[in-house]
Structures are given as C-alpha cells and as structure tokens.
C-alpha cells in the first residue's frame, strides 16, 4: 500500500483523443495490501478508459462490499461512485441505469459479493441483460473478514487458514453463459495485456458484460495449496485466443491471414478480431463456449480470454422500450397528465 502518491507527472504526459491524461482517470491511493491483485485490475480499468478516450464524468462506478468493492475509490475520481451493501450492487446499478441510460456503468464486485449473497441479483441482472460492465475480482476468499473460503474456491484448495475447501466451486463464467449472458470473459490481474482489451470489448458491448478477473489475495489465499495463487494460476492458465479491439473511430490497420481470425462487430460499431488458435473455435457459439470451458477444467487448466459473445440480444431499455431521453431529464410537461385529465378520471369513478 502506498501512503503517498507523488503528484508529479511528466509535463508532456500523453493526452488521449478526448484531451485527458492518464492521471485524469486515476483515483485515491489504494489502501489494499501491497501486491494485491485488485490494484492491477484497477490499473487495467484505468488503462482501458484512458485509451478509449472515455469522459470520466460520463461513467458511474458501482460496487458492493469487500476488498474489491473498495477499488472504485482508486480509479476515476471524477466519476460518481456508489459503494452499496453486500451482494446488492446489481439492483443499485439497475436503478441507476434506468434513470440515465446514457452513462457508462462499471459494477465492481468480488467472489463473495457475487457468488454467495449476491447470487440472486447477479442472475437477474444477466437475465434482464442490464447494460452494465460487471467486473468480478475473484480471489477465492473473503479478504476483508480475514480469509474464509468463498463459493468460487476450488474443492481441495487451501488458503492461509490451511483447511482444504470441502465444497464444489462455482464457475461464474460458465454460470453466466448458462444464465443468458451475452459477453463473458475471464482475465487475470497479472496479465494486463490480455485484460485491457477484454475491458474495452465489454465497454463496447450493449448489455451485461461479465469479466471474471482472477485476482490473487496475497494475504490470505496465495499459498502453495491454493488454486487462486499467483503461482498456480500462472502454471495452469490457458487462453481462448488473443484479440485486437478496434474502436469504431479507428481504421483496421492489421492484415489478418485468411481463416485465422473471427470478427465480431459490437453494438457501437467497434470490432473485435479474435485470433483463433484452433479452427474449430467459435466464441459466438454458446454450446462450443461451454464445452471449451468444461474440457479445459478436465485437463486442470484455467481458461481465460473472451469466452463467449453474442450480439443478437437486447439490453434492458430496449426490452422495456423506454424513451431514448434519459428518464432523469424528463420534467412536469412530460410526466404529469394535468388536472383536466384528472377530472376525467374522477368522472370514470362515479
């Protein structure tokens, strides 16, 4: 943890297309443990926002309770944030999104916050396909309360407490696909090169984009016997594919040899070019996506990358057909039918 963050920045620090420097996307100094995976994940978020030229005040960052839920304070300090209650970030994000469909919503949660108490709200935010970027910083344990197993801890994995987890674990990515998610990815806090494009793709996606970020807890779950330790993850990681994210405004500069890429067009016009490792891969096919996850599990591998994407789906506002004008901008003229109408209603009640 840093007690002091130097405020000096290079005078010619690069600015993005929107005129902001990277500094404009940072937040308060982190109070997390030194070496915490969440701080790297936070960095990836900052990087993605900076490179995309997003205006910080057009972002709302929501979280639940837990170490990961503290991270919104450490990025985008020009954005409004809402650290709510344990497991209930999705409903707050839903309401906020209903009020203003035009902001970019980032929902930060943890494996305890999502896979236990938050399981219901997770499932239904997916079901409604809320336009939310849901990032779960997954360390397999409850850090803030001193290291209990979470529901994503693998069976047999033992953290600092030493007792192996006796229960089956929940694979949030596979579950998300099952529940109807339309953008599912897994990253690793130790691999920013992979994670940043995953986040950019999520932002371009219209609907619920879920990213499970394996983010080791150095204090309570980084042991040799833990399957969520840096060591274990590095040794067992597998990637679906690398990919380039090309925002709408940018030209496609790379030539891809035929048959080696799969192109997915996002709702806002941006493109994802996936580099296929095997010709049979197709991350737009739900069945294949789940099978791939399962077969890697059988091999004892942890599959990362873009796991599944489906652009043929509507987000909540389109499903319920709300006005394109944000609801929080409507005034009396739009909202109140007036006294004449009320007198007619009275008539109908006599």
């Amino acid at each position: 943890m840093s007690f002091q963050v130097p405020s000096f920045r290079h005078p010619r620090q690069a600015k993005n297309d929107a005129g902001y420097t990277r500094r404009d996307y940072e937040g308060a100094p982190s109070t997390l443990c030194a070496g915490c995976g969440h701080d790297s994940a936070t960095n990836a978020i900052i990087q993605a926002c900076f490179e995309l030229g997003i205006e910080p005040h057009r972002v709302a960052k929501m979280s639940g309770i837990g170490c990961s839920s503290k991270t919104p304070a450490y990025f985008l300090n020009k954005s409004h944030g809402f650290n709510s209650v344990h497991g209930r970030m999705p409903s707050i994000a839903t309401g906020a999104n209903m009020a203003n469909r035009d902001l970019l919503y980032i929902g930060i949660s943890g494996d305890g916050d999502t896979a236990s108490i938050g399981m219901g709200q997770f499932a239904h935010a997916l079901r409604r396909n809320l336009n939310l970027n849901y990032i779960c910083m997954n360390n397999g344990c409850y850090g803030l309360t001193k290291g209990q197993d979470s529901a994503t801890a693998d069976k047999g994995s033992a953290g600092k407490k030493g007792t192996p987890n006796p229960y089956a674990s929940i694979d949030l990515c596979e579950l998300a696909i099952e529940l109807g998610a339309s953008y599912v990815a897994r990253g690793f806090s130790g691999d920013k090169k992979q994670l940043v494009p995953l986040i950019k793709g999520a932002f371009a996606h219209s609907g619920l984009a879920f990213i499970d970020v394996i983010s080791p807890c150095v204090t309570f779950n980084n042991t040799a016997t833990s399957t969520k330790s840096y060591e274990y993850v590095r040794e067992h990681i597998e990637a679906t594919n690398t990919f380039d994210f090309i925002p709408l405004q940018q030209e496609i500069l790379t030539d891809y040899p035929e048959g080696t890429t799969q192109e997915v067009t996002m709702h806002d016009g941006s493109k994802i070019h996936l580099h296929k490792v095997e010709n049979t891969e197709d991350v737009t096919n739900r069945l294949k996506a789940v099978n791939r996850l399962e077969s890697e599990k059988e091999k004892g591998r942890l599959l990362t990358g873009l796991l599944y994407v489906n652009q043929d789906i509507q987000e909540t506002h389109d499903i319920i057909n709300t006005t394109l004008r944000p609801l929080n901008t409507l005034q009396e003229a739009d909202l109140c039918p007036g006294n004449d109408v009320l007198q007619k209603i009275n008539e109908g009640l006599r």
Binding site: M62, M98, A99, N100, L327, N328
Partner: protein, 615 residues
C-alpha cells in the same frame, strides 16, 4: 318479531365461494348504492386462496356518511353452502336471510327472529341460460336483481351500470340484464313486502368518487412524477404498481416514438426492488416501490443505507396481518414500529398515514417531494382495508401550477459558480440537509463516492470519532426540519373542558369519527386528533398535554403508535391508554364505542339506539 326497518342505514353481507365470479355481482350492487347518492362502504373479506374457499363482501349503507364498519349484519345474502349456518346465526335479531332455495334449508335453521327469503337462484339460472360458464357468473347477478326489489333500488341504476360496464361488448350486457330481471321478478312476486330495509336516492355524495386506495397511490405516483418503479408481487400491494403501470400506459407514452417515459421492473425479490428505487433516486429519477409487511423486513437493510447515505426513497407499505406471513388477506396497522425504526443502528424514517383514496393520491405525490427535499426514505403507511377496498372519497384534484420539489441539488453551472469547496455532507444552511449532485453533472466537479459506511463531509470514509458523531447528530437536525414539512394532524376540539382525547390514524379514522358522533348525541363531546405523519409535530404533543386521558385507537396488538408517542415525546405510559383491534378485520364503530364506555365507566347505550335509530 320486530323486523329491522331503516332507510339508507344498514349492513348487508354477501357470503360467496371465492373464485366464482361473485366479486363483479357484489361490486355492481355496491356501485348501485353509490350511484343512488348514498354513502357506501364495501369491504372484501377474502381468503388467502385462489378458488373454493369462503369469501364475504360486507357493504355498509349509511345516509349519515359514516364510512367505517359498524358492527353487526342486518341482511345476509348467503350463497355459500360452507358458511350457511354461520351466516344465518351471525344475523342481528330482526334481520333478513336470503339464500338459494333451489335447495331446502336444513331443519336446524330455526330462528324465529329472522325473515327468510328463498330465491331459487340455481333453478332460475339453469332454466334461462344454457352456457355453463355464463351460469356461474349470472347466478350472482340474479340475487342483485332480487335485492333491487327488496331494497327498493332504482332498477335503471343497475341497467345503466351494466350497459356502461359492457359498453365495448354489448352482447354481454343482455344476459346480465335478463338475470337482473329474473331475480327482480321472482322477489317481487314472492316477497312483495317482506323487507323493511330501503334505499332512497339522495344527493349526499355530491361529486364524490368511489375508488380503491392502491389505484389512488398508483395515480399519485404518476402525477408526482415517478419514472422508475422496482417492485415484487405481494398481497395486498401488487395492485399499486399494476395501477401505476395501467396509468403509465395511458399517460406516459412518447407520442412520436411510442416509447415509454417510465421504467417498471418486476424485481427478483424485495431487496432488489428497493435497490432499484435507491439507484434510480441517486441518479436523479423519482422512484418508488410498494410492498407489505414481509417486504419491509427484507427491505430493512437498504432502508438503513438510504437513511445513512441520505438518498430519497419512497416506499408504500400496504399493511396486512402479521407477524411473519400472518394472514395475507387481512388488514392491520402493525408495521408502524418496523417502518419508523427500520434497519439496525440509530435510524428514523418518515411515515405518512393516509385515511382515504384522496389522501393516498395526495400523500404519494407529496412523498416524492418530501423524499427528495429531505433526502431520506418516506414510507406511506396504507393497509389492506384502504388499499384493496373501494372507498367513497372527495374527488382528486391537481394544481397545474405545481412544480416538483427536487430538493437541494447542484447543477453544473451552480458547481462552476461555487466559491467554497462543495461537500456532499456539508450542512451549509443549518437545516441538516446538504446539497447533492447527480452523476454526469460536470466534467471535473461534483463527483463523490456514496457509501453506507461512516463518512465525512466530503463523503470519504472516516473513523474519526468527532466527525462520525457530528454526522449522526446532523441527521437529527434534519429530522427536526422534517417535523416542519410533514402533514400536520387534524385536531378537533369539541369541548375544551373535556379531559379525554382520542388519537388515531389511517383507516381507524372512520369508525372513530362514528363513535365520537354517537357519544356526541349522548352529550359527551370527545376531542380527537388524527395523526397524519411521523415525526410528530408540536401540535401532537400539545394535544396530549392538554388532556388528562388519551385513548390511542389502532389496529395492532402492541399499541405501536402509542409506543412511539411515549418514545419520541417522553410521555408517561399512564397517560396513554390503548384501544386495540387486531383480528384482521377493519375496526368497527361498535368496538370503539364499547371500549370507550368501558374505559370511561359509562353505562352502555341500549342495542337499538347505538345503531343510530335515534337519529
């Protein structure tokens, strides 16, 4: 036998099997009384069941305009074999018993103080109508026709109602009118002078309306500018959001695009429902939810968050009999404490107590203003009786000059113009209320981190004791401000020298006023105060101090409002005595009268005069 003989002053109770279509026939009857200009109070006493169990519909007809339950039944329409015996024996002496004489009454029905009226509903119905589905519905319409003769109701009021109801499907009007005629003719032929109860047209109602409280709340939310509703189905609050949705489909559609100017989401549970409301309110949209007791328990965590982080939230609690799952289809006022002090830690929430549909409408619109002005939860305490029954009410009115009070918010320009640094929890005016900003308001100013954890004036986390304490104390300053903004009580001093005062709220009001009128006639003029909100204002404390004895009349077992009066205003328990009804049925004027007689050691009036015969 002295048969009961009265004009525009009786209680008639229908006993049906639920799910048999009786509601529409009974409703038709109640509306006919209403359209004859006579004050009417229909109460649906239905089981927690879809089909097959007993259901009662008790209609009070009262020229004088008392809208609560009286107590006792003068006329029974007993069409449910399961409860035939009970309905027969519940009748007051001199009462009337109408039954389906297609089947004989058992021999055990031997009262000599009841007039029995047999109408062969099943036989008449089957003779005339071949369609089995129609039969079920029309059988009940036949007895409405019979009642038209027996009670002297103008037949055209009924036929007009039918024609109006089936204006879009006139083919359905015909069999209904035929059924009415069948019942009418049979009763007229066989019971020309049997019934001493009559309905006479009056103009007592003026331009009053007949409406259920839940629809009034839904409409109030539309007029009050709500754009987001998160909700979860629960009896008896579901129809609040259904009404909101119905009115939204009429009045909140964007003309050019056909898109909706409203977001209504059925959540996965009550917690999510309130979460949606809080998220929306935080982001500058007016939002509300509706629930009942069990939902309040679930919502308590989020209520604490809204209280401490100071986010507007409007919640309608349509109370039902508890505890736990209780009786989902029975009424009570037993969530008062749970709502007032919802959530762990030191919390207090604003409560509003409507007593009729007009207040349901007005107070819902006011609640949306109050929640945003005070940046805190506002809970509208309705109940099943008010929400799900039709009530006579003054017509609704909206001032077209009214603007929504969005409370203390800062726009981008205002942020730009500020000289000192803004803090989300800085009390700049001394009223305990701070300025908030909406997400996206300004490129570089105004962003802050909302949290349920302890916070300083800039909404940063703090464990500094003095700052934490000051923040909590400021919430009490805000509470005092709320005292000046919430609806004031309705106090009536009828006798300055009488040391006895009555306190009541919500649906208890109507039966209480009737009891007061009865005592008035006997020369005992009681003073009363109808409380309409929590926190309690000065006026409430003054009223209590001005009397020696206060009777707090409410519908729960533990005297919850009494507890709050003692708790909030340091009033001695000995001064406040409870009159409590908590059987799940709406409180009656008879009950209140008897309790006051007992508490004041007054000799009870005789049976006949206590029901207003003397008037």
């Amino acid at each position: 036998m002295n048969r009961i003989e009265r004009v525009n002053d009786f209680v008639i109770r229908f006993a049906n099997v639920n799910g048999s279509g009786s509601a529409s026939a009974n409703n038709l009857f109640a509306r006919a009384i209403f359209r004859a200009g006579v004050p009417v109070s229909p109460k649906n006493i239905f089981p927690s069941n879809i089909q097959g169990l007993p259901t009662w519909y008790e209609v009070r007809v009262c020229q004088r305009g008392f809208l609560g339950r009286r107590g006792g039944v003068d006329f029974a329409v007993a069409v449910n074999g399961q409860t035939l015996f009970k309905d027969y024996h519940d009748l007051l002496p001199g009462g009337y018993f109408l039954y389906d004489s297609s089947k004989d009454l058992p021999e055990t029905f031997e009262r000599d103080d009841v007039s029995v009226i047999g109408i062969p509903l099943t036989l008449l119905c089957n003779q005339e109508f071949a369609n089995p589905k129609l039969r079920q519905l029309l059988k009940n319409i036949i007895y409405v026709g019979s009642l038209a003769h027996l009670l002297d109701i103008d037949f055209t009021i009924l036929t007009d109602s039918i024609n109006k109801q089936f204006a879009r499907k006139p083919k359905l009007a015909e069999p209904n009118i035929k059924a009415l005629e069948l019942g009418y003719d049979y009763a007229k032929t066989h019971y020309p002078d049997t019934c001493g109860l009559r309905v006479e047209k009056t103009d007592k109602l003026g331009d009053d309306i007949l409406m259920d409280g839940n629809s009034a709340v839904g409409l109030g939310a539309i007029y009050g500018g709500a754009t987001v509703a998160g909700w979860y189905p629960i009896t008896p609050s579901t129809s609040v959001v259904e009404a909101f949705e119905k009115y939204a489909n009429k009045f909140r559609i964007e003309e050019e695009s056909g898109r909706k100017k409203v977001a209504i989401l059925q959540a996965e549970d009550e917690l999510a429902a309130l979460g949606i409301v809080i998220g929306a309110s935080w982001n500058g949209a007016r939002a509300f939810t509706a629930t009942s007791g069990p939902g309040i328990s679930l919502m308590s965590e989020f209520l604490g968050l809204a209280y401490f982080a100071e986010i507007p939230a409007v919640l309608v609690d349509v109370q039902r009999a508890g505890p736990s799952t209780g009786m989902p289809t029975r009424t009570q006022q037993s969530d008062v404490l749970s709502c007032a002090y919802a959530s762990h830690g030191d919390t207090k929430n604003i409560l509003l107590f409507p007593c009729d549909p007009k207040e349901c409408f007005d107070l819902t619109a006011d609640a949306l203003d109050l929640a945003e002005r005070l940046q805190t939860p506002v809970i509208i305490m309705s109940d099943l009786d008010l929400g799900m029954n039709d009530h006579v009410s003054a017509p609704l009115h909206w001032d077209d000059n009214r603007r929504y009070d969005r409370g203390k918010t800062l726009s981008g320009e205002e942020l730009e113009a500020l000289k000192e640094q803004w803090g989300r929890y800085k009390d700049v005016d001394g009223d305990g209320i701070c300025y908030r900003t909406y997400p996206g308001v300004h490129p570089t100013k105004g962003a802050y981190f909302t949290r349920g954890t302890s916070h300083n004036e800039y909404s940063a986390y703090t464990e500094e004791t003095s700052i934490y304490k000051a923040n909590l104390e400021r919430l009490l300053v805000k509470w005092d401000t709320a005292r000046t903004l919430v609806p004031s009580p309705r106090t009536k001093i009828r006798d300055e020298d009488n040391g006895v005062g009555l306190v009541f709220y919500g649906t208890t009001t109507h039966a209480a006023y009737e009891a007061i009128a009865r005592f008035n006639e006997r020369g005992i003029r009681l003073n009363s105060m109808r409380i309409r909100a929590f926190p309690f204002q000065e006026e409430v404390i003054e009223f209590i101090n001005a009397h020696e004895k206060i009777f707090v009349i409410e519908q729960n077992r533990d005297g919850q409002l009494r507890t709050m009066l003692m708790n909030e205003n340091a009033i001695s328990p000995r001064k406040l005595q409870s009159i409590l009804n908590f059987d799940g049925l709406p409180i009656t004027a008879d009950f209140i009268t008897e309790k006051i007689e007992y508490l004041l050691d007054i000799v009870p009036e005789t049976a006949t005069s206590s029901r207003g015969d003397a008037s």
